[in-house]
Symmetry: C4
Subunit: 257 residues, 4 copies
Amino acid sequence: MDDVVVRMLESVPLKDPVLVEGLPGVGNVGKLAADYLRDQLEAKPLATFYSKFFPPQVYVSEAGLIRLVSNDLCYRKARRAGERDILILGGDYQGISPEGQYELTHRVLEVAHKHGVREVFTLAGFAQGHVVETPRVLGAATSAARVEAMKKLGVVFSRNDPGGGLIGASGLFLGLGRLFDMEGVCLMGETSGYFVDPRSAEAVLKVLAKALGIELDFTDLESKAKEIDRIAQKIHEAEAKAPDSPAQTREDLGYIG
Amino acid sequence: MDDVVVRMLESVPLKDPVLVEGLPGVGNVGKLAADYLRDQLEAKPLATFYSKFFPPQVYVSEAGLIRLVSNDLCYRKARRAGERDILILGGDYQGISPEGQYELTHRVLEVAHKHGVREVFTLAGFAQGHVVETPRVLGAATSAARVEAMKKLGVVFSRNDPGGGLIGASGLFLGLGRLFDMEGVCLMGETSGYFVDPRSAEAVLKVLAKALGIELDFTDLESKAKEIDRIAQKIHEAEAKAPDSPAQTREDLGYIG
Amino acid sequence: MDDVVVRMLESVPLKDPVLVEGLPGVGNVGKLAADYLRDQLEAKPLATFYSKFFPPQVYVSEAGLIRLVSNDLCYRKARRAGERDILILGGDYQGISPEGQYELTHRVLEVAHKHGVREVFTLAGFAQGHVVETPRVLGAATSAARVEAMKKLGVVFSRNDPGGGLIGASGLFLGLGRLFDMEGVCLMGETSGYFVDPRSAEAVLKVLAKALGIELDFTDLESKAKEIDRIAQKIHEAEAKAPDSPAQTREDLGYIG
Amino acid sequence: MDDVVVRMLESVPLKDPVLVEGLPGVGNVGKLAADYLRDQLEAKPLATFYSKFFPPQVYVSEAGLIRLVSNDLCYRKARRAGERDILILGGDYQGISPEGQYELTHRVLEVAHKHGVREVFTLAGFAQGHVVETPRVLGAATSAARVEAMKKLGVVFSRNDPGGGLIGASGLFLGLGRLFDMEGVCLMGETSGYFVDPRSAEAVLKVLAKALGIELDFTDLESKAKEIDRIAQKIHEAEAKAPDSPAQTREDLGYIG
């Protein structure tokens, strides 16, 4: 079996497309953002990536149907002047080993490269360890010009954050992307790190929308954020009553989103 | 050394065979069922799979003879109208790493594909965490039609179970099977998860027998179930007397079956 | 880099040679025996195996010279009627992962096969968990004829030992050896499992010497056994005085041999 | 993706160059020394090694620019009679698995071999477990002649240290180097093992400078050593006041250098 099995679902010519990556991670910010972007833009499936670097797992839908875990590349062609063709990478998992991270990222970049990608945006969460009321968006980039361009969109480039660098797909897509002569930016929404965080995903997407010249309706994401707020509030109240055993409830929360 | 070494033991033409998989796992339900099916149908060895994704281990028989751990594919040709040719995969281990799970499953599916397999039944246990008097059989499938067909045989498709999907060979044979254009069903017998569970294996096999139009004699499996009951009863009594140290006894029980 | 790098040190024709394997393991019995055999027979280096499946380690001699960890195959041609050509595999480590165990064993067997090996003796310790005054030699074999032949040499084939089979090189050389049409026997010297055990190695070698029709002088091995006895005695006395902290001394003992 | 991706940055003919390796490890002695040597000699980038055997990580500079973790080979041509061309290998990580250690070392040695390297110096720390006021330099080598030559430069070849051999890149470059017919020496600066240790790096570099006939200015390294001394002193005082919780401060110290 190939390390990564790529199933091309469609053959479509793209014009200078930008690649947007958002996979599960801190606060699930990247995945929430990428999935929401895909839904809002009505992006269509282009390729599916199966791999032995994912867990040996299938998901079962409510209807009882199985689906092998994967990463998925969707595309959305520009619809009006000022827009660009977009590729969106989402999925169930990042590679579950360092080797897997490299192989999967490299394979996706190969496919993106063949479709003409020269620019990458990666979306992620940045764990602050405390509740963040109004999440800022931190950035890292492959060139000084991009740092400046992102600063104009409100992205914060902090001297100390992220101190130890970025670990995982969002950093690697930029790092390995350089081997494909791609430039790019990582957008990291601040988040507590304890919950899935739609509000942080929204902050990230707002920057991305400006950068890509697209318009997004955030109604659904804001509903989801309020739902999380309600549950967090409940947990808060439960903890006030019984401060010793909030663990279970908190874990439940992890599955929402 | 090849990752997986396939030893073909016989060359036999099969007609639209169905593949039945049952490897060690929760309650050993899948393995118990597959081994019992093989014995009852007097299935014959077709291929042996050795692999570096198994432990570096040989078993020693009571006569002092060694045997390298393996997975084993047996076949049984249809004997009367209404029956189908059957391939049964059993063995000592599932692959001991995610990569191994994918590689082994893929390799077995290749061999099955060459023999014309288009349909797969995977057999497994579903851990409920408590004693199950009358195990139900839960299901997951690759198509809505199969879900409906299985419901008619009494299989339960629960909205919430299995919540996190299936991990291991029984899910993977269906998930990767799709890459070989195979359809299939996973049959999961409810079990406590604490013992090997012949009764759950029997429940699973009864559904399978109906689905395949074959008849099975369950006498031996029921004897084994009663043996486990006796031991469980003894443990229960021992625990009643000395509730603090049942661990050793319980572990002993794990080897029965 | 190849997974296993084989350095052939000599080209020598061998006549129906028998392969004897003894690598580090329980009580270091196998390694002690194989190294002693090599020294007694004045066997000469034939091939060195380096591998990424060993630790990334060099040993430093007392003179300050480094040596990369390896497995080593030596040979000794028959010197008189009744003797056979012998290949001896020893070394610093077994493969440090299941995959490594398979790859290394397979690679050594390939080299052995090219030199005409059809029979393998593997030497190992069998941990009893308590002090063994007069170690028996337990056996496992690839054929009933070999079981019978070994019984005549005093080897014990126990119905229950080893219960869970053999894990590691000594089992794998026989298990994978079958893929090369080799037959063989595993000789396991009983040992406590707490110390390196020259006395157990001697028991194993005495059986092997009879099986191969060679004569060995055990003086040096018996000296080593007595040295271990003295140290064990000291530990015993130290424990009698200060029963709570024997760990350090015992660990020291582990390096002797 | 190749296991190791080599980016050649320049094509330069070298004359009998010596390879100096210093990667992160005990007390960061090797990396401190190699980086300092590179800066002092104004060595220029020759090749970059990316690999799936490194963590999937990018570093972010204070300016917000990302850089994929790597090993880096620099060169410095001889500037006057008596000097030699030098290659220096430094980097962010050693391979993060035994397999990775072997593959990366082998790949670097291949590149070095193509550039004519026949001699290797590896730089490392040797953990003594206690504060070392005046670090000695311990040695290990590939030949008796080199042991003698190093002794004349003050290197200590101890009968017992390092007892268990060398684990990691510094040993492996010599061990695998033998497969490329390279000779070499490992220079290990004594260090406590608790801090990054510029003073130990200086001791190692002083030996190396003599061996290579080059002159180095140690001012900057001594400043760094004094900075560490000041921090160590602060920790000492803090521990004197609150002896129970020095862990955090000590960890902070680990990042200095």
